[in-house]
């Protein structure tokens, strides 16, 4: 099957300091790809580059066959590429409902947006109860639900999540992962999941891209990584339990 997202030899960085070097991998439609690696591996930089917040210095990014080089950030979500940034990224002064509306403003079909919002409220019940509250009153888990729900209002084909489990209780993380697994099987949503929480990421991923110091050091089926202890030790020197 043709890749939904194809990353070829990508280099990028901040103000002339290179971070990513020759990053290459694919995301197939409807698959979950986990990007794993320790702090400073370039995982967040990778997502910021893919969504266009950082310019490429080399390589190409194709989404559904289209080269994204000339597509500005605000246009990428229209193609079906959604990015939930690190640290939740909810707009704290806006209410829950306003945050969700914001995710669908670019869409012309108002009824479709209303349907998508209703589905998000169904999926994340705490949000429905807090509709009219400003987002800064939400708990960490609720914020993550809001950020995720807001991305879903755009009905993306590929959802890029940056550390969704950061600072959340294990039970909440498990809930989020379950939601992602459900969405994937019911809507064919592909997910590019950046995580430090290796265990929860591998629990739903098909493929794992392992990064270290800005380079991809391995692309393996998640199955293999779950089973193979020696590989994991080789990459990290230890296994976070």
């Amino acid at each position: 099957m043709a890749a939904l997202l194809s990353v070829q030899g990508v280099c990028a960085g901040y103000r002339g300091v290179p971070v990513l070097r020759d990053v290459t991998f694919d995301v197939a439609p409807g698959s979950v790809v986990a990007v794993l690696g320790p702090n400073g591996a370039g995982k967040t930089t990778l997502l910021r580059t893919l969504s266009g917040l950082l310019p490429l210095t080399a390589g190409t990014v194709r989404f559904d066959g289209q080269d994204l080089a000339a597509v500005p950030v605000a246009r990428r979500v229209r193609l079906g590429l959604a990015h939930v940034p690190e640290g939740r990224g909810v707009v704290e002064e806006l209410t829950v409902a306003e945050n969700l509306r914001l995710g669908g403003l670019w869409r012309r079909d108002r009824a479709e947006v209303a349907r998508a919002m209703a589905q998000v409220y169904e999926l994340f019940e705490p949000l429905a109860r807090r509709r009219e509250q400003p987002a800064h009153q939400l708990s960490g888990g609720e914020r993550q639900m809001l950020a995720l729900g807001r991305a879903l209002v755009a009905r993306p084909r590929l959802l890029m999540l940056d550390e969704p489990s950061l600072g959340l209780a294990p039970r909440v993380v498990a809930q989020l992962m379950a939601v992602l697994a459900t969405l994937r099987s019911s809507t064919g949503l592909a997910v590019l999941l950046v995580e430090q929480n290796v265990r929860s990421a591998l629990s739903i991923a098909d493929t794992a891209v392992v990064m270290s110091l800005g380079e991809v050091v391995a692309v393996r089926p998640a199955e293999e990584l779950r089973a193979d202890d020696t590989l994991r030790r080789a990459w990290w020197g230890f296994w976070p339990s």
């Binding site: 950030v73 990224g89 914001l102 800064h136």
Partner: protein
């Protein structure tokens, strides 16, 4: 004239919220917009058409200023932007002087400015009632725009969280231009309302209003539209008391600057400023 100070203060707050810049060119731009509007209005349509045209001209000038000057400076150069705004003021005032001359040209009010006396008590003039009504309408309109419409939501989100907004498909640059245009439109609207109460049109005719409105906006907290409204009326009252009790109109600017200084010393964030939540 607290209502007009309020409106002009609101126009300053609009830009502050969108770009964290005090637009020192607002006075010159609003006069320019009023000049253009009156150049048409004095021939056809009168003051009323002028009141409609001034915000349009203002929006155009404000948007142009953002596109041609402010954007080129880049997002983090707030101090440079303020200096650039002062530069824009000088250019605009010089151009106005060349085109329209340096003498005051009267801008007549559409209705009487004679104070109405009801049962022996002097109240407001018909023109002041008109101004009050126009300002209330504008305030309600702006509140609805920001709270109820998609554009309002985009404007707020772009100001509060530009990067996240961009990721969600909001054209943030367009919203910034729009915010500058909207702000200048409100400023021009205020100019059309206030200029008939003074000697008229002149390149520097709005400078005094700017100073008053700036004090009002700072008093209310530059971030808060409600604060701008309250600040506008508070400053209007202070000015009336000072000039009314001392019978010395020249004290007004002194009182104003004293008030500005006091606010900056005692409570620089303003009386109505909430906690600031901003992120990239």
């Amino acid at each position: 004239m607290g209502a007009v100070y309020t409106t002009f203060a609101l126009s300053l707050v609009l830009i502050w919220r969108a770009a964290r810049i005090v637009n020192f060119a607002q006075a010159a731009i609003s006069v320019a917009a009023a000049d253009v509007a009156w150049a048409v209005g004095s021939r056809v349509g009168g003051w009323w058409l002028g009141l409609l045209l001034a915000p349009l001209a203002g929006a155009l000038l404000g948007g142009l200023m953002e596109r041609l000057v402010i954007r080129r400076l880049g997002p983090e150069r707030h101090l440079d932007a303020i200096i650039a705004a002062i530069g824009v003021t000088m250019v605009v005032q010089a151009v106005l002087g060349m085109v329209f001359g340096l003498q005051y040209r009267p801008l007549p009010a559409p209705v009487s400015q004679t104070v109405l006396t009801v049962g022996g008590v002097p109240t407001l003039s018909p023109y002041k009632l008109l101004v009050l009504g126009a300002v209330v309408l504008l305030g309600v309109g702006l509140a609805l725009l920001f709270s109820r419409t998609a554009v309002g939501l985009r404007l707020r989100a772009s100001a509060l969280a530009p990067e996240v907004s961009r990721l969600l498909g909001v054209e943030v640059e367009r919203m910034t231009t729009l915010a500058w245009g909207l702000s200048a439109a409100v400023g021009a609207f205020a100019a059309m309302l206030v200029l008939p109460t003074g000697p008229g049109l002149h390149p520097t005719a709005m400078d005094g209003v700017f100073l008053t409105a700036f004090t009002a906006a700072v008093l209310g907290g530059l971030d808060s539209p409600v604060g701008a409204v309250a600040g506008g009326f508070a400053v209007g009252l202070v000015l009336n008391y000072v000039t009314g009790y001392t019978d010395e109109p020249n004290l007004a600017p002194v009182a104003l600057l004293g008030l500005l200084l006091a606010v900056l010393l005692v409570r620089p964030s303003g009386v109505f400023a909430g906690p600031t939540i901003r992120r990239s």
